[in-house]
Subunit: 394 residues, 2 copies
């Protein structure tokens, strides 16, 4: 007994709930127990028999809404958490959905929904699918993105790579995510030189290629780099929320002084998705959470590339970039990770035409004339039926 009844203010909750679905390993009985434990661990984190306030035990603790058997060893449990436990914050929402239970094996967060009055606190992506199409003046074809690399080149040499890619008509030139502020190409110099190079290419080609530099940076420098990039004329921002924390994306997306598209990069996040029995589903991590935070596009490994993602994982991401989420806009899937030019049609079939095709090394492999290669690729895209439907999620 904590003997605090005399100072306890009775709860006055709305009744609106966050729901979260978890895949749980074990027998049905074990899964039911784990589901119950999740409701406790993610809220009061305290033995229920020691809580003397009935309203805390009955209203704050997450409630098991259902446990469904998928196979002998796998069950899906839906837990309802009162919206108030997440307060007003994406950070505390992450903590409620998967904070402490990330430390337990055999629990995987598959999906979540927010009640209207919590969802309304999040602005989501500033641009999304339509907003980026408008910026680029591209009404219905897939987009092409390539990366400025390799690390070790000077700012001037990187700008030259960007110039030649942009000249061929690619829509987006982004920094390689490993380019930060190294001596061989300091951030400010790189941004200025690459912006100038892309602008020069656009002037010559008539295209509207946008350069999106990497602003993944120390906590006290992310915003200043975003503002510096904006002031220098960058056309978007690349950031790795696994390194900076996801909420930085929310902060940037909401900032009217920045107002640039945000590409989210999965660096350091793979540990959440690499095992099927734990962590967070790819669709929730790379799709729904990026989207809720306000990323306009999410990069992830397409199956069959350098990374061992499955078609199921990629389908989950595709679905959760576009599924119904109140006023929160759908975002661009950016399948990547060793994609080759000859897989373009296959990827469009899988994701629909609302896709950013990120092709790095393989663009260079087509031959020394990068502008010509990019142009060939863009022409190939023009041949794809503009009436091809976007992928419609279930």
């Amino acid at each position: 007994m904590t003997e605090t009844t005399h100072t306890h203010t009775p709860l006055d909750l709305s009744g609106e709930i966050i729901t979260a679905v978890y895949a749980l390993k074990g027998t049905l009985k074990e899964a039911a127990e784990t589901a119950f434990d999740i409701g406790v661990e993610q809220t009061v984190e305290f033995p229920l028999d020691l809580i003397e306030q009935d309203d805390i035990r009955e209203q704050i603790v997450g409630e098991v809404l259902s446990v469904e058997t998928i196979d002998e060893d796998t069950h899906h449990a839906t837990i309802g958490f009162p919206m108030e436990v997440a307060g007003r914050e994406l950070t505390q929402l992450l903590n409620v959905l998967f904070g402490n239970i990330s430390l337990k094996p055999g629990i995987r967060l598959l999906s979540f929904t927010l009640p209207k009055n919590l969802l309304m606190r999040f602005g989501g992506p500033r641009f999304g699918i339509r907003g980026i199409r408008e910026l680029l003046g591209v009404s219905d074809r897939p987009l092409i993105c390539t990366a400025v690399k390799p690390m070790g080149l000077s700012a001037e040499a990187l700008a030259d790579v960007a110039y030649r890619s942009a000249l061929g008509g690619v829509d987006i030139v982004k920094d390689d995510h490993g380019l930060s502020d190294q001596d061989f190409a300091r951030f400010e110099e790189r941004i200025k030189k690459v912006v100038a190079a892309v602008n020069r290419a656009n002037g010559e080609s008539g295209h509207r290629c946008r350069y999106m530099p990497n602003i993944t940076a120390p906590a006290d420098e992310v915003i200043s780099r975003a503002l510096l990039a904006k002031a220098a004329g960058a056309g978007g921002l690349l950031i790795a929320p696994g390194i900076t924390g996801l909420d930085v994306i929310r902060q940037i997306a909401a900032d009217d002084g920045i107002a640039l598209p945000i590409l989210s990069h999965p660096a350091l996040q793979g540990a959440y998705t690499v095992h099927r029995d734990s962590g967070i589903s790819p669709g929730t991590l790379y799709g729904a959470l990026n989207r809720l935070a306000g990323a306009d596009a999410c990069i992830f490994p397409h199956f069959g590339g350098r990374f061992a993602f499955s078609p199921d994982a990629c389908g989950d991401i595709r679905d959760q970039t576009a599924s119904v989420m109140g006023h929160i806009k759908p975002i661009w899937p950016v399948p990547a990770g060793g994609m080759s030019v000859d897989r373009v049609e296959e990827m469009i079939t899988f994701y629909g035409k609302d896709i950013i095709l990120l092709i790095g090394g393989d663009l260079h492999r087509q031959g020394p004339d990068l502008a010509r290669t990019a142009k060939n690729l863009m022409e190939r895209l023009e041949l794809i039926d503009p009436q091809r439907p976007s992928y419609a999620p279930k």
Copy 2:
């Protein structure tokens, strides 16, 4: 060929290297290939045959220094990365150590070392073991910490829990990590009331209990909450770097205007350590990285509690809180997660006397008089031989 030779500035690297040891699954041949791939993926992320600058291929790409077979299916590879690829930043260092390869199964980061000129860029913990002992005036016994909970109590009721814990003489009263800024106990009101309660208890008891509130918060509010806590008289800060990003700890530790001990909480980080074959070793994640960033103490699940951590995992954390790391101070291990009062001696034997014993629910289970229970526990600690050596890492 990228045709950029004409603009390439020859590299002028120091030759100092970051080393990282990875556990790799598969045959020795597969492990050797994976090790080579890591050197490429974590630096240039580009096909080597397409890099025409010899110095980038030879100096930027991570070099496989050794591959050692542990058992038929497990090998330890040591990779050397030029210090310059990490620039000046903890964020880019994280990216080099485990960014993209987090997305690949069968790769686990076991440990890393930094060369002197990179390590010098990090201040590490402001207090560490000795600094916190000095603040508390406790020269050589283990410390006791308890948590203010459960969520759902008002600020006033939480302050009452803190008062009664502090009155019994516990050294640290921390917020439960799920307390953020919810309606039932808003951040500012909670901090003020709990600080006042702990100060009142100290005045009555003569102890120096310190209250450490949770400042895990939206990206644009973490620092303002830290400053508010400081101004209100808090004695330390609790933060979950898995939610905020690890670099926020570095930022706070370096801030002379805050200058408070930092307790790091593992919420959301468990996905990195929950599988043995991938992710990051517990010692590196909860020990070395927290320490490098500047946390003074790291909370993690002790084995045999609510979480399935192994003795090996806890030993790894213990070792990496205290191992040689240049000028970076050793930090406090804070084993937790359902620890009971009757395990205190066992935990001190395992970790040594430089340990913060975090006991939450079980302190309440001893009976309604929390101050008496805390006092009994503190008396029990006094009986432990003060000559008991600290745990000495190998």
